[in-house]
Amino acid sequence: MIVARGLTKTFGPKLAVDDLSFTVEPGRVTGFLGPNGAGKSTTMRMVLGLDRPTAGSVTVNGHSYADSAAPLREVGALLEARALHPGRTARNHLRWLAASNGIPRTRIDEVLDLVGLDAVADQRVGRFSLGMGQRLGIAVALLGEPPVVVLDEPVNGLDPEGIRWVRTLARELAGQGRTVLVSSHLMSEMALTADHLLVVGRGRMLADCSMAEFIADHAASHVRVRSPRTGDVEALLRGRGLEVDRQGAELRVQGLDAAGIGELVGGAGLLLHELTLVQSSLEEAFMTLTADSVEYSTHPAPQEAQATR
């Protein structure tokens, strides 16, 4: 279990993490979602005691990470930036880590096998692809069979097969009753992996809820209604207290399902040309939620800039 209370981090004038309070529970995958620069990696570094919080605190299993007697056997982490020396072999990297926490050497072969790096274990990691580096990072995280696993953007650089593997692994770890925190900047990734969501933007918590709640609350849906008598239909539906948004000849109705609307309109003897349930995707919902907090949004290139090319 990871518990953060009022966690805050500033880098000079930059507020990277702003008063985050959350609990990561065991037995489920908690997705840590937010656009780039939202403060996910910084938060995870504070969980591991690598960065000092400017304010607030975070504990793992009830104590601060630094007070863990055998941290690798309590928390396994894959951090964002590669934490590898290019000149060291994968096996030697795992060897010194295992030695530092009194983990038997037999476990090294086990994790190498688990992440599929057994064939390249004695190669220098400088020659590894991004995906192989990620796999080694995951091997490090699992070395001590920790009850708490923290993975920062684990699917970065992985091929589709690798992505599926990480997804399954995260679900398995949670299924074994472990605490699993996985960050991503892609909603589509989280939708398939996470049971619970922590959504952050510009360091602030935007949503802390189950995946199902998130879908219900944010993946807004409406019923599209077209009728030759738009004005009358609109008046009727508004009269019933429904939310109606008129877009030209189209009405967007919220507050009642398509069947209910059809019955209302039909009951009033009005004709309908279209009655469709429109559901926005999770990706859209996430974009809307974080729209104000995207740090590096893209802007269309100015006209002059294009002309001078």
Binding site: R52, Y65, P71, E74, H85, W96, A99, S100, N101, G102
Partner: protein, 273 residues
């Protein structure tokens, strides 16, 4: 209801010991130190430069030293190669810290061992042990090689001669101190090129230039600079008569290294990794 994994770490990794100890941190740092090629290369260079150049300079100067025209003692030459071995000691000391910052390894290190004091102590121990042994072995090899040529000219030096054994041990001590000195600079600066340049400049450039400073205060500044204060212990008879007495100088050097390490530790202790 899902069964929660209990927090007893022993249950999950069969055979794992309950609490890692300082010895485990030391073991980890030792494995880390020797599993990159630069360590082996640097240590080999230390030996080749230290013992090789001592032998070479004795071979080429033996006849002159024996001729009576010489205004230097043969004993000054018996650890001559050490001057160049200093470079590799500085490099090893710098890299043990800066390579971790350059590669991001520091995050792996501190998440495996969050007690930063234990990490520093283990790094210092690995570095000190390696340089002490390498320094003493190199000095003895240089003595054996160089003295063979001096002996042929009848000006051989016995191990029992004044300061000879002291200089053999002193070579190890001085190189170990120099490694720690570079490690402290690494902690303060964190970038390999910057830290190494500062270390080399202080020992080789500033150390020599300082003798040009005027007056008694200039003389004292020169004497007290780390390279000048510390290196006296590593030669039976120094070329430079202005240096502090061997053990006095080494005590000054040790204090300087300790102060710099303390500064490095204070910065490292709370810094974001």
């Amino acid at each position: 209801m899902i069964d929660t994994v209990a927090l007893n770490p022993d249950r999950h990794v069969p055979g794992a010991r309950r609490h890692p100890r300082a010895a485990d941190t030391l073991h980890a740092e030792w494995l880390k130190f020797w599993s990159v090629r630069s360590t082996g290369w640097s240590t080999a260079m230390l030996f080749v430069l230290g013992a090789g150049l001592t032998t070479l300079v004795c071979a080429t100067s033996a006849a002159w030293l024996a001729s009576g025209e010489a205004d230097e003692s043969p004993a000054s030459f018996i650890t001559w190669g050490l001057f160049f071995a200093q470079i590799t000691a500085l490099a090893l000391g710098t890299l043990i810290v800066t390579s971790e910052y350059g590669t991001g390894m520091i995050r792996a290190t501190l998440s495996a061992t969050p007690r930063r004091g234990a990490v520093l102590a283990a790094k210092a121990a690995v570095l000190t042990g390696t340089l002490l042994v390498a320094g003493v072995v190199t000095a003895f090899a240089g003595y054996l090689g160089g003295n063979w040529f001096l002996d042929r000219e009848g000006i051989g030096i016995a191990l029992s001669d004044d300061g000879v054994l002291r200089s053999m041990l002193g070579s190890g001590l001085y190189l170990a101190g120099l490694g720690l000195f570079a490690m402290a600079i690494g902690l303060l600066v964190r970038h390999t090129a910057a830290a190494l340049s500062i270390g080399l400049a202080l020992v080789f450039v500033v150390g020599n230039m300082a003798f040009l400073l005027p007056g008694t205060w200039g003389e004292w500044v020169a004497k007290l600079l780390p390279g000048n204060a510390g290196s006296g212990v590593a030669t039976p008879v120094s070329f430079n008569p202005e240096l502090l007495a061997p053990w006095t100088g080494f005590a000054v050097f040790t204090a300087e290294v300790a102060a710099l390490l303390l500064a490095g530790w204070l910065v490292f202790r709370h810094r974001d990794a």
